[in-house]
Symmetry: C2
Subunit: 226 residues, 2 copies
């Protein structure tokens, strides 16, 4: 059975992306990164999604991006909510929740893991439609990562590519919700809120995007909001 490494953050995007990998016939090697983000809720969600996918393995890697900081998710910088979040979005500025080089670091680990287990693809749930302006979520970025990956490993030198797959990159949040429903993704076990807490805040940019996505798709978001 062909193998794919699937980055699973615990969020809905990576869950849908990984469900697509499974649908496309890959055995799933899930990879979750505990990078010192504000809360651990998303990691327990990742565990549940990996179980749902029947993952062959679920690798959890602990790194500490708080040592580098410089983001609202990894340093003492407030997460914008409500009007502040909307204002940043309207300004088209990259918001403070951007974490320096995060996707590059995650994909690098995924590349190492893919090479170690002999996987031929890496799935990442990035999307660039309803997104937050992060530079490392754009198709042009992933194209360059692929080019680099084609030169980076022993496997690729031997002529076997490791493909970087971004199956939901062109979908908006409503499209991601619909695709997830089609694949029976248990959205109740996904978490998108940037804040800690037992209920999602409903006000940070990530919550707002998610809620709009469910609304547009015409279904209820099964998670609890404060």
């Amino acid at each position: 059975m062909k193998k794919a490494v699937c980055l699973l953050s615990g969020g809905m995007d990576s869950a849908v992306s990984a469900a697509i990998a499974k649908k496309q016939g890959y055995g799933i090697y899930a990879l979750s990164v505990d990078y010192g983000q504000r809360h651990k809720k998303e990691l327990s969600c990742a565990r549940k999604i990996a179980k749902f996918l029947g993952a062959k393995e679920h690798k959890k890697i602990k790194i500490d991006l708080r040592q580098i900081g410089c983001s609202a998710l990894t340093a003492d910088i407030p997460v914008p909510v409500g009007k502040d979040a909307a204002g940043i979005k309207a300004s088209k500025k990259i918001p403070p929740t951007y974490v320096p080089a995060r996707n590059t670091i995650f994909l690098s680990y995924a590349l190492a893991y893919a090479e170690a287990v002999g996987a031929e693809a890496i799935y990442i749930g990035a999307n660039c439609v309803d997104y937050s302006g992060y530079p490392d979520c754009r198709p042009e970025y992933f194209k360059r990562f692929q080019d680099m990956a084609d030169y980076a490993t022993k496997k690729t030198v031997e002529g076997k590519r490791i493909l970087i797959k971004t199956p939901i990159i062109g979908l908006d949040k409503a499209g991601i919700v619909k695709k997830g429903l089609e694949l029976n993704v248990p959205f109740e076990h996904t978490w998108s809120c940037y804040q800690g807490g037992t209920k999602a805040c409903g006000e940070c940019e990530s919550c707002v995007l998610r809620l709009n996505g469910f609304k547009e798709a015409g279904v209820m978001d099964p998670i609890l909001y404060a």
Copy 2:
């Protein structure tokens, strides 16, 4: 003062590379990665080299590549020595000391760190002349990493490039020794041996390359060998 992130492994190549950065007028932000390698000696060497360079900061990041394994440096796979090492070299095969995606992971952290401190360059002491056939030590690999980095960060989106510098990539080991002597690099505080121990083994590929380099340069290697 312009800033450079310098990857410092504790080995002679990264020490010389960082000394070149200093000579070129950069303030040094040293970055060492404890990745679960066989011994910690090289990390204490990195500390001494950072001190010699007058580094503004020396960031030590701990990650665990043993979780991924698949290398003689991060798993229970023997490091080839003597005839075995020579045989692998002659065969032009990539040796078992290759660590999957190691330079990609290291450079990704360096990219995050460079963005966080506002550095405009990253120095890495890779060289492709007397090297071990690692795919991620080749100029064509670094070129692609640069292309990717130009799309990866907030800083690059704003038009400020972070340059990936490989100043010793075209030097052989003897050339690296000579360049280091010219810049007063304290080679006694560098460590190249793949094996643990208080003295270098003198037999692994890394020791053999180093010893040949000093021999060809016509100077004594100041470290102790078993």
